[in-house]
Structure formats: structure tokens, C-alpha cells
Amino acid sequence: MHSLVEPNAWVAIKLPSENLRVLQLTPNTTISLGKYGSFPSNLIIHRPYHITYELEDKKDNETFNRLRIVPASELYSDILSSSSFLSPDSASPSPEGDDAEDAIPTGVEYALVDADSGAVVAKTDRAELDAEARQSLTMEQIEELKKDVTDAGRDIITKLMLSHSAISQKTEYSLAKYKLLKTKKYIRRFCVLPLDVSMLDYWLLEEKDPAKIMDLREEMIGLLGCWANVHFGGESRCLNEEEQEAAANGTNTATKPEDSTGRWLVVDDTGGLLVAAMAERMGVLYPPEKDEEEMNPPQKRRRDSESQPEPAGGEGESEPQAQSAEKTQPPSGGDASGQEHIVTKRVKYPTGDPRHKDDLAVPYANCNTMTLLHHNSQPNLSFLRYYDFDNTNPTQSLMHPLARHLMTLSWLQLLDPLADSTYANEPPSVSSDELKTWKANRRGNYHRKRRRWARIRHVVDRTRGGGFSGLVVASTMDPTSIMRHAVPLLAGGAPIAIYSQTPEPLTALMDCYSVARRAAWISDPPEEAIGKTTEELEQWAGTDEFPLNPSLVLGAAMQTSRVRKWQVLPGRTHPLMTSKGGAEGYIFTAWRVKPAEGRVEARGKGRTKKGKSGR
């Protein structure tokens, strides 16, 4: 993630009303925050994240509102002052204990202090709750005030509070609440947040359509990633030369599982959110950072606002940053320096590049990759566009790490590749002499098709070769059927994590691995399984009694988790009164294991046997 807000970056702007506004920061535009005002986008570009700004009044000679960074001391002034008022009081509980309202300390002076001037705006000295709002300002007057907001809305808040006739009768808590309410409504503040996976998830859940991401909450994403052991899976390098030659000759050799680690299999029906989350864990979600002159003033940055992210040069040795280390190392293997050249070329000239021979070279890394299985002919990875990655775009820059580390294939391509036309039909090879006679766009088309075929060929063959180091699923499809085909692709000891909105699909899956069934598989195997080798049993087609081969999976377990938010204020700490409901969300976890060849006995070291023979 970048240290500063980059031009054209997607950000989430948090408004005082706690609402989020997600937008792409185009330079030289005005960002409107509705009733909270508007400001030029250039004022937050190349500024740090997580800073709270306040809109200043327009200067006489300027057409825009400047921003002021609100220091933490100002943000917390109310809370901190109330806590300092409270602390002596909490030591000595108030003597009056006659009515319910006395649970909150009364008789305390509560002052509403204007942050700037230090002037006391309102005071309470006697608690008396009044449900009736007694705003003496009329609607018209308030509208009038709203029209010419000054001092970032603080004056309107103050005016509203002062003209509240019952303000002196409010308890300190209700006064604080009232002020908070009015502040949320009128204060012209906002905070710029990076749209990382956590924020994207929060935004999709709270403000967009949670059904689109299968109600996948953050705690579930965390659990999925951990239980599937998704992490940085080894140094990133491209396929080495020989393999590419082999691929070019049409004999695509599936690499032995021995020399590839960190390959995860993903089934994602959350529109790419799960892929993004896993990519974040693997360190392949965010494009490599551009030159970082963070300690230097930003005018040294050469990049113009309009220019698209270019591949960064290798001038980052001294930076204490791993991404930069990744960047300085050529993504292609250490020995293939010529290839790096090609890669850069391809980035600059996405179409019609001069590498006629390299059409069948695949851009994918051989470790730290994700393979996505999808049920449509194209995967739905729409949320990845917030990370500058568009899977459907043929000109997608290879500089984006996902371009090298994310492979996609459909279930048909996995299970019956010859039925898939893109896989089965190799575009005819044309000699370079003939190619030269072709028109430019026909030639480009030819290369595009050849490259696509090689890519799919590689992905499918590699996937069917198996040896994956983990399986992560968040799908609306029946998990039992996914397991039937995905489990044989996993390496021994590989963890499995499956998310479901509701418990039912997972209980059915758990039942396939119930103790009784596992025991029966060994002691009383079904007719279909008798006489088959372990390898044949890996491809168990499933019967009514044994929908899955229960000996391939160990430690099937199911869990659920939910996070509850609290309000922490001096003397007012409690869980939030309301939160989102919706699907509870369950996670199935297990490990892929390799059953021993032949019959396995498990008599146990029973006491009885010991007793008989020993004593």
C-alpha cells in the first residue's frame, strides 16, 4: 500500500455521518460531499491517509475551499474534557440515589467548550431529561444558516445549541449526545481512508449490497485465510527458459509439484473480494510502489498526474520495503535477463509486440500463485477493479502482480478440457514470412489468439497436475461437489477452508466425513471401492452412501465467529445498541491427507488387551 494518496487511486472518504463515499481521485476535479461541502481533489492527492480534514472557509481571492488538518487533540476535546470531569467524580459517587437517572452522575458541571476560543458555549448543572426537542430556531432559519456555512459548520452547531431552550435542563450525557448528533449533521469534516480489502469489505457490507459478497464479514475473511494457510508462497519467478521452450514446442510439461510451492486453489462467488483478500495475504494485490522519495518533498516526484503507472526502475535498493525488493528483482528468473526486457516491452506496447516467437510463452509465475475456478465462461472479478486489475482487459498491464499470480479456469476446462474450444483448438501456426504479408491488425489478432491459447493450455495443464498447497472456497455451489473435484488436486497436508452463509451446506459436507462413515469406509467398504488402488479412490465419483471418499480428508470441523463492537467513552462503555444481522456465516476446515495403501487397522491400545496379555 502506498504511503500517500496516489492520483487516480480509489479511496474511501469517511463523512461525519459515518457514511463512506468511495471514489477514484481524478486530479483536477472537485469532489462533492453533498451537504458537507466540496473541495478540489488535488488537495488530498499526495497527502497521507487517515488524516481528518476540515473544510476551511473560502478565501476571498480563491474559488475553492482549502482544507485544514484537524489534530487529534481537537477531535477528542469533548471526550477528554468530559473524562477529566468524570474522573474525580467517579471516585465519589453522588449522594442522591432517588431516581433512575441517578445512575449517571449528576450535579457535575458539564461545559460545552468551543475548541477555538475556549469560550463556554453551554453548561449544565442539574440533570433533567426532557424528551421534547425545544429548538427555537425554525426550519427556515436553519435552512438559512445552512446556506452560508462558515467555520466548517461549527457556528451553526453552536447556534443550534444556544437556541435550544431546554439545553440547560439536559444531563451532561444527553447534552453530549445532542452535540454529537448536531456535529455529525453539520460539521464539515472528512477522513481519507485507503480502499484496502478491509475497507472494501466494510463498505460493501454496510453500504452496498452484502448479498453480492455472500455476507462475507472481515472475521470470516481472516479465518478463511488463516485456516487455508494462505501466505507469501516463495520468491516470485517466472517459468524458466526450458519450460517455455517446451511449451513452445507444444509439449507443455506440467511442472512437478516438487518445485512449486505456495499455489492456492480458490473458488470465489463474491465477485473477487475473496481473491482480493487472499492476494493481499500473498502480497500480490497492490501494484508495486513507484519510486519512493518519501522523506523528500513530493515535488521531486516526476510522475505527472495524467501519466499511467509506469514500470518503476530499479532505484530503490536502500528502501526498507519488501515490495521494492520484489521490484528490483526481475520478476523473471535470475538468469533470464533477456526476458525481463521483453516483459517491459510488452507493458509499453501491449498489442502488436515484436515477439513472434514468444507467443507461447506464458506470463505466469510458478509459485505464490492463485488458481481461480469459476462456473461461468469468464470469472466474475469485478471488485478487483478497485485495485487497478481488470481480468477481462487484454491490455491489462503485466506490471500488476495479479497478472502474473492469478490464473483462472472454468470447471469445464478443469474436468473436460477437450470439450472447451479455446483449450482444444490450437490456432494454426503461421510462418513469419507469411505473417509479414498480413495486415497489422490481422497479425495482432493472430498473436493474441496464439497467446491466449498458450495461456489457457498452461493453466489447465498445471491445474490438472494438482499439488496445490491449499483450497479456499466461498461459493454458492454445493460444497460437496466442489470437494469431490478439488480435493484430489491438493497436495498432502494441504489445508481446506470453505465459507458458507448458512450452516446447512456445510453440515451436509461434515456428514460426509462423520466418524461413523469413516469407520465404515475402512471396515465395510462399499462394493465400488473394493479392489481399487488408492490413486483410483482419489477420483471417487461418489455414491449415495459415500458422496465423498472420507479417507482423503482429516479433521473436518465447522465454526462460526462474530465480532461485536463496543462504544468506549468515559463512564459510558457498552456494546453498540444495533449492528448488522444477515447471514451468520460458517467455515468448514480440514486437511487433505494421503491414506495408507491397503487395509488399515485401528484396534487401539485397549486396556482390555493389555490387561489380558500383561497381567
Partner: protein, 518 residues
């Protein structure tokens, strides 16, 4: 750099001198460092042996196996071990030479000399932080998977980052965080990779932690320090760890917080120059893990004073779910777990009828003899038999068929319920962020580079209707230009038009997107 840690890159097979997890049952996992021993170890001729309730497993049978393998128990002489040792002590030389000759297994392939025992099997799993958390030796309260998975996600611990962990405790969080920030082993002094800076106050735990890190091949990735962070802060050898993430599992986090400031805190000593342990050019994410609400209130108050932003407190409630088959019915096999009460009202009524007719039959028999009425007896008897017979048959037949044909694991209704004991409270998690510092000069420079006042468009203002209209016009214009271009290049299938469309889409993107969010 030695071999990579089995936690991070386990490879395909188990290897000697490396950690493996022996899986006995769901909650019984045994971490073992596999030892390839020559000769007798601890009195076992087979070398190091793991003894479990499923039998004995010499390490040699576990080494160089594919991960996840099911391993059968071996017949190991456990009984005569004590006797043997005594004998050995007496005539050490003779026994030793014999022992080596007979017991050492050549190579590390499946040992030939060992016989398979029928007592059972285990599975051998690669270590992961999750497995380690359930099997680790407890030294303090453990941070469990539901908590650490959420924490690491929230504090944005990602590959290449540096994380401070104060209160290493039992090391479960250490292992999880090193996996999260791992971005390869450093290849030299200057090669900065993801790293965990762990601090532990208790000396005994510190030594254990250090040994553990070493044994797990994490020495280059985890720096354990023996430190009282309340007083001595978080610097390592006077240098800043440059941390972007902080996790505090301390009894009094507020005492450690001042050391995590960007600039010199008010109460600090004046003579020493201030070095912040935080990375200066990034937002720093922090999580504090405290079990009591009083700790939370105090921590949050200090956080507010020190300028931490977006303070949020949550608790994680996690449940494991058991799935089982609930077998209720009169026809269920009479084994454990079956509830032999009627499945539904129909079955209940049938059963009652049965009882009713039986008692009727009984009464008739006894009363009939008293009455001596042959006619009634003659008429009723077959009827009674009939009514008796059918339900009896109906009850018996399915019973027999169910018991014989259906498998017990197919019967009953599939249900799930929360496991019998749950952890209702682990700790409160307080999250906060510290934005990077932004000086006036930096602001002025940024403003000079990105001057304002020439804004051409407005994002996020349009209402839905005008947004739709604009989009429609845009699409209209695009299809026009497409048609025009289609004339001059007929070979053009997808290549260039696709590119154009993409670029068009990109150009038009900010508009609908920004508006969509409003």
C-alpha cells in the same frame, strides 16, 4: 540461511530435524521435531519413538513421507526397555555393538526392520500457526485463531511489513504474525523483509521463546528481545524496528503506549534523542489485547491523549459447531445415540394402538374365560388377531429392514449444535491507527505540485437521473464512432476496438463510480 521454516515453506515431504505435527485426533495434536537417530535412543532400538494411545511410531517411519500421510503404528518393544537399559549399563560395550547392528535402519526410506502393528495409525501434518496454537506448550494465556486471524487482518499485517509484538507469551501470535509478514528470508544485512519484533518481559519465557524460534527455523524472521517495554521501549539495539503494525498483549498497555509515539512524548527523558519505533512514512495500525474492561478504558483514554485515531473496541465471539445425526424413532437400532421414542405423531399413535389392542386381547382372554361365551370368543378372536397382527407386523418389519439395510450413518436427521463448552470471552480488542506526520513544508510542496483552482469536473454531485443520462449519451457517442471505424478496417475483430472500448470505459469510469457511491 538454512532450510526454510516448515511453517512457511514445508515442501512436499517431512524431513529430519524439522517440526512436524502428529495428528492423533481433533484436539490431540503432537508437535514433534523428527530426529534421524542412529542407534538406540532412550532405550529404544528403533531410535526416537513417539508413543501414543494408537501405538508406537519410530521417527524413522515418519521421516521423508509426503505431508498428510497416514502412518501405521510399528511394533516397538516398549516393555523391556527398562530392563534392557539396566543390562546395557552392566555390559555396555557388547549390547551397544549389537544394538547398532540390529536396530539402525539404513537410509531414511521406509524401514524394513519394523513390523506394522495393528494398534492404529496417525497422520502427519505440516505445522501451521493454527495447528501450533492448538498443540503448543502453554506458558501463558494463548491468543487463539479466531482472535489472531481477525487482529492480523485488521492491523493490515501483510507480506513485507514489520510488526511489533509485546508480550510474546506462548508464541501463538508470533507464529501467526510471522506467516502474515513473511516475504522471503533476508539475503543480506540490507535486505529488509517482513519481520516480527517480539518482546517478552519474563526471562524464562524469553529463553523458551528464543529456543522455539530457533528450532522452527524462524531466527531470521523473528527477533525476540528480553525487555520491560513499559520502561525501556521498543527499540532494538538502539535502532527503530520501523514497525507498521503493533500488537500489545500486556497487562498495562497504557504504560507502553508513550514509547510508540511519533515524536518525543512529554514525560520522556530529555537528554536522549528520540527514535520512534514506528515507520515514519506509513500509517501505523495497532491492536491492544486486554481481558478486562478497566484496562480497555484506561488504554483508550491514553490513546486519545497520544493522538491515536479511529479507536474502536470489539470482542470476538467464536463457536465451534458439532454436526451429528439425531436418530429419533421407534425403529432405530438400539445403539448409543439413538432416541427410541416415536419419530412423529403417526408413529406414536400406531404404538398406542398396538398397546391398546394388546391389552384388549389380554382382557378378552381373561374375561372371555370367565364369561364362557363361545360365540363372542369365536368372533372376536380372529378379529383381535387381525388387528393385533397388522400393527405388530408394521412395527416389526421396518425395524428389521432398517436395521439390516440402512447404515447408521445414513439414518436420522442431520443437525448441528454449538460444541458443549465455548470460550465466551477471550479479550477485548482495541484497534487504533496513527497517521504519518505531515508538516507544513510537505503540505506546501504538495500544494505546489498539485495546484488547485482549475477543476474541470465535479465528482459525486450528480443525482441518479442526470448520471444515467450522461452515461447514455456517452454510450451513444461511442457506438457511433465504432460504426464509423468499422468501415475502414474489416479485418478488425477485437484487437483495436477492444482496446478503444477499454480506454473509453476507463475515461468514463470516475464518473459513474463516484456517483454510484453517493
Amino acid at each position: 540461511m538454512g532450510a526454510a521454516s516448515p511453517f512457511l515453506e514445508p515442501g512436499v515431504r517431512t524431513s529430519a530435524n524439522s517440526l512436524a505435527i502428529v495428528h492423533l485426533s481433533r484436539d490431540n495434536l503432537l508437535p514433534v521435531i523428527l530426529q534421524e537417530s542412529k542407534g538406540e535412543v532412550d532405550g529404544y532400538a528403533e531410535g526416537s519413538v513417539i508413543n501414543t494411545r494408537f501405538g508406537s511410531f519410530p521417527h524413522t517411519t515418519l521421516i521423508n513421507q509426503p505431508w498428510g500421510s497416514q502412518i501405521r503404528a510399528s511394533i516397538v518393544d516398549t516393555g523391556s526397555r527398562g530392563r534392557k537399559r539396566k543390562v546395557q549399563d552392566e555390559e555396555a560395550a557388547v549390547e551397544d555393538s549389537e544394538g547398532v547392528g540390529s536396530a539402525t535402519i539404513p537410509g531414511q526410506a521406509t524401514p524394513k526392520g519394523l513390523e506394522t502393528a495393528s494398534s492404529g495409525f496417525v497422520h502427519i501434518l505440516p505445522p501451521t500457526p493454527e495447528v501450533w496454537t492448538t498443540s503448543l506448550p502453554h506458558r501463558t494465556q494463548v491468543v487463539y485463531t479466531p482472535d489472531y486471524s481477525y487482529i492480523l487482518h485488521r492491523i493490515r499485517a501483510r507480506p513485507g511489513m514489520r510488526i511489533i509484538e509485546a508480550g510474546a507469551g506462548s508464541g501463538s501470535f508470533t507464529h501467526a504474525s510471522v506467516r502474515a509478514v513473511y516475504s522471503g528470508y533476508p539475503k543480506g544485512e540490507d535486505d529488509a523483509r517482513g519481520k516480527v519484533y517480539s518482546f517478552e518481559f519474563n526471562e524464562d519465557r524469553f529463553h523458551k521463546m528464543e529456543a522455539e524460534v530457533e528450532a522452527h527455523g524462524l531466527k531470521d524472521l523473528v527477533k525476540v528481545s528480553h525487555r520491560d517495554v513499559y520502561n525501556n521501549g521498543f527499540l532494538v539495539d538502539g535502532k527503530s524496528p520501523e514497525a507498521e503494525c503493533v500488537f500489545l498483549d500486556l497487562p498495562a498497555p497504557w504504560k507502553a503506549l508513550p514509547h510508540l509515539s511519533r515524536s518525543k512524548p512529554a514525560g520522556a527523558e530529555q537528554d536522549t534523542p528520540w527514535v520512534s519505533p514506528l515507520r515514519s512514512d506509513r500509517t501505523v495500525h495497532l491492536c491492544s489485547f486486554s481481558p478486562c474492561i478497566e484496562q480497555v478504558t484506561k488504554t483508550v483514554e491514553v490513546m486519545r491523549q497520544l493522538g491515536w485515531m479511529q479507536i474502536e473496541m470489539v470482542e470476538v465471539s467464536h463457536k465451534r459447531v458439532n454436526v451429528m445425526r439425531e436418530r429419533v424413532g421407534l425403529n432405530m437400532p438400539t445403539d448409543r445415540g439413538s432416541n427410541l421414542s416415536p419419530y412423529d405423531v403417526g408413529e406414536a399413535v400406531q404404538r398406542l394402538r398396538e398397546v391398546e389392542s394388546k391389552s384388549k386381547e389380554f382382557h378378552e382372554r381373561t374375561q372371555g374365560v370367565e364369561n364362557g361365551d363361545a360365540d363372542v370368543d369365536m368372533d372376536d378372536a380372529p378379529e383381535a388377531q387381525k388387528s393385533n397382527g397388522t400393527p405388530a407386523k408394521g412395527a416389526n418389519e421396518p425395524k428389521a429392514s432398517v436395521a439390516s439395510s440402512a447404515k447408521p450413518y445414513m439414518m436420522g436427521r442431520l443437525i448441528h449444535r454449538t460444541e458443549p463448552e465455548i470460550k465466551t470471552h477471550t479479550s477485548y480488542l482495541v484497534f487504533a491507527v496513527m497517521p504519518q506526520e505531515w508538516t507544513e513544508e510537505q503540505e506546501a510542496a504538495a500544494f505546489a505540485q498539485w495546484p488547485c483552482g482549475k477543476e474541470s469536473k465535479v465528482i459525486g454531485k450528480l443525482d441518479k437521473e442526470s448520471r444515467k443520462r450522461e452515461k447514455r449519451e456517452l454510450l451513444h457517442a461511442k457506438s457511433k464512432s465504432k460504426r464509423k471505424r468499422g468501415k475502414d478496417g474489416e479485418a478488425e475483430e477485437a484487437g483495436e476496438t477492444e482496446v478503444d472500448n477499454e480506454q473509453d470505459a476507463k475515461r468514463s469510469k470516475p464518473d459513474p463510480q463516484a456517483a454510484a457511491s453517493s
